[in-house]
């Protein structure tokens, strides 16, 4: 197991390399010039030219890439063109809030999603199923920005219970994580329902009933675990996407996370920040996938992890 994990972590390196080249190229292909923005509105052509020279933007792309990677390997993520602050400092205040937000969203979405899915499957075509699936369809159909605004309207404006956004500790996470998790909760609920329904038709479930087990034991101990593999796949993918920070939700709630930082940086063509953020997201995504693969082997003994 440990060897497997080490092997998988080493596999990250070439992926990071490819990701870094691709993202570097894409960023520099976007039209727009950070030098013009750095130099300011009233700058002359000459000023812009000087800034370009200063920032090294006149070098050929491969040279810029090598100098960026050289710094990266020394643990230096570069300096933001916009703020002049080290990128790593900018990340350090933004990274954890996004991670927390994602975790909170995932935790409630998984618990509630599994619950709704399981109840819907057990009471197939009865009112709990209809209720559960209506909830799930709503959760998936409501766009994040709209659901977010609705929640703000209700809980912040009308009831005054929760802040509209910002960073006031745990309270500030509640509404954004509700908004962020709604779609995932719905997806998990739907996948759990269909997967569990399929499992409940299997021979070994009949065996369990023929043994004289309670229906609740049959469902929870025998059926649920067998139904979880597709659910883990979908939850893992979603989790990976969320870790990149949700631009929409972070914007609606003026949440100080990575998603908003990335959007701001793209608007400013803040190359070092964009580049490092993309790399970070790629790493996070790979780690989540690794965890999903390990979870598979925990859920299904037939899947053996080989070093």
């Amino acid at each position: 197991m440990l060897r497997y994990i080490i092997k998988r972590v080493l596999e990250i390196l070439p992926i990071i390399f490819v990701v870094s080249i691709l993202s570097f190229l894409f960023i520099h292909f976007i039209p727009g010039d950070p030098a013009r923005l750095v130099a300011g509105k009233d700058a002359t052509l000459q000023d812009v030219q000087n800034v370009r020279e200063e920032l090294g933007l006149n070098d050929p792309i491969w040279k810029q890439y090598i100098s960026y990677m050289g710094n990266l390997l020394q643990g230096n993520l570069g300096t933001s063109l916009k703020t002049g602050l080290p990128v790593s400092d900018m990340f350090s205040s933004r990274f954890m809030p996004s991670i927390y937000l994602t975790f909170f969203a995932m935790i409630w979405a998984t618990i509630i999603g599994l619950l709704i899915g399981a109840i819907s499957a057990v009471f197939k075509n009865k009112w709990p199923d209809y209720l559960g699936m209506v909830t799930a369809v709503s959760g998936i159909s409501l766009p994040g920005f709209w659901l977010g605004l609705l929640l703000i309207q209700l809980f912040s404006v009308q009831l005054g219970m929760l802040p509209t956004g910002g960073s006031e500790g745990f309270k500030s996470y509640i509404l954004p994580s509700l908004t962020l998790g709604a779609g995932i909760m719905s997806m998990i609920a739907r996948f759990t329902r269909s997967s569990l329904l399929e499992t409940l038709q299997t021979d070994y479930i009949r065996t369990g009933r023929a043994k004289g087990l309670k229906e609740s034991v049959v469902i929870i101990q025998h059926a649920l675990r067998n139904s979880l593999i597709p659910v883990v796949t979908i939850a893992g993918l979603q989790f990976g996407f969320l870790l990149g920070g949700s631009v929409v939700v972070e914007t609606v709630f003026s949440f100080p996370g990575m998603g908003r930082l990335l959007i701001d940086s793209i608007a400013f063509r803040d190359y070092p920040v964009i580049q490092s953020a993309l790399l970070l997201f790629a790493i996070e995504f790979i780690i989540v996938n690794l965890v999903v693969d390990i979870l598979y082997s925990v859920l299904n003994p037939k899947i053996q992890i080989q070093s």
């Binding site: 409940l200 038709q201 299997t202 021979d203 070994y204 479930i205 009949r206 065996t207 369990g208 009933r209 023929a210 043994k211 004289g212 087990l213 309670k214 229906e215 034991v217 101990q221 025998h222 675990r225 067998n226 859920l299 299904n300 003994p301 037939k302």
Partner: protein, 326 residues
């Protein structure tokens, strides 16, 4: 007089689809004596398996329900039992093994856990006692190194071993009745023989009754004391194994037995019964076998024959004999 362990009377089971009820079992009658092996034979779709599921009341997740009839088992009528009482019976007094051992065990649960579940529920043993009991059961069904097998998963075992595990599980609470639904159909021939031998041995040792559902007449001849032949949701003939093979009465039974190839006989084509089992939602009038029967008379298409005793201990549902006895 031997005591009857299970008596099924006029059993009717129906499924509902789009609010339309379809009757699959049209009044099934038979009984099993204590310590007896009864064979239930018939083509695919004749209602053999559904009869066994009806006895166990394993309808969860389907629309099946018993709409008429009685099932007497050990002095209680299973039709009237609550779900809770039924659950106390299942796995304890009546146990079941299924056709496909590859899919009948939970793939993500260790053999030991699956084996100890009924033991803990019904015999109220604690974890380590139940494990001991499970290992003893595995030894009993002829599994080598049982103390290692309990910690393995089903995919690590062969089909024959899995069926042995299923048998160990079914036998673990010492049931009065074992229902075996095509227990050897999915296994290859040498393993089939071993499994049948094992079942026979355990049946003798434990003095239990077996309801053996099969379409394999070779298995019937090997295992059973008496045979019930089913066709389209009804019993058409009941006889001792010897009588049935020696002198089948019902034209359907005759056809079944004629369709078994005999050793040393040279034929280009096997005998078969022409046609198919009728569709349950569109049953023919009169005797359900009449459209396929080469001895059918006008009355067969009009009225259903009753199931009558034709010789000692033999029942047959056919106008040929009913007219005779009149």
């Amino acid at each position: 007089m031997t005591k009857k362990l299970l008596q099924v009377e006029e059993l009717q089971t129906e499924f509902t689809r789009d609010k339309q009820k379809t009757r699959i079992l049209h009044g099934v009658n038979f009984h099993i004596n204590e310590g007896e092996v009864l064979g239930l034979v018939g083509e695919s779709g004749c209602g053999k398996s559904l009869t066994s599921l009806s006895i166990m009341r394993l309808f969860q997740g389907t629309t099946g329900e018993i709409t008429n009839g009685n099932i007497y088992f050990n002095d209680s009528n299973l039709v009237n039992l609550s779900d809770y009482e039924m659950r106390k019976l299942r796995g304890k007094q009546m146990a079941m093994i299924f056709q496909d051992p590859m899919t009948s065990l939970n793939p993500v649960m260790k053999i030991g856990k699956q084996l100890t579940e009924p033991i803990r529920v019904h015999l109220k043993l604690n974890k380590s006692e139940a494990r001991e009991h499970a290992i003893a059961m595995l030894t009993k069904v002829g599994i080598a190194r049982p103390d290692e097998i309990v910690d393995e998963y089903p995919h690590q075992l062969s089909g024959g071993m899995r069926q042995r595990v299923m048998i160990a599980m079914a036998m673990s609470c010492n049931p009065n009745l074992l229902i075996a639904d095509e227990p050897t159909t999915a296994l290859d021939v040498t393993i089939q023989a071993q499994i049948l031998e094992l079942m026979k041995k355990l049946q003798k040792e434990e003095k239990m009754s077996i309801l053996l559902i099969t379409h394999d007449l070779g298995v019937v001849a090997e295992m059973c004391d008496r045979v019930v032949v089913m066709y389209a949701g009804k019993v058409v003939e009941e006889a001792s194994v010897y009588d049935l093979f020696e002198n089948p009465k019902h034209p359907y039974s005759k056809g079944l037995i004629a369709s078994v190839p005999k050793l040393g006989e040279k034929k280009d084509k096997l005998d078969s019964i022409k046609g198919n089992v009728p569709n349950p939602s569109n049953m023919p009038k009169g005797c359900k076998f009449a459209p396929r029967c080469n001895m059918a008379m006008p009355i067969c298409h009009e009225q259903e024959p009753a199931c009558l005793a034709i010789e000692n201990d033999r029942l047959c549902s056919c106008w040929l004999y009913e007219l005779e006895t009149r």
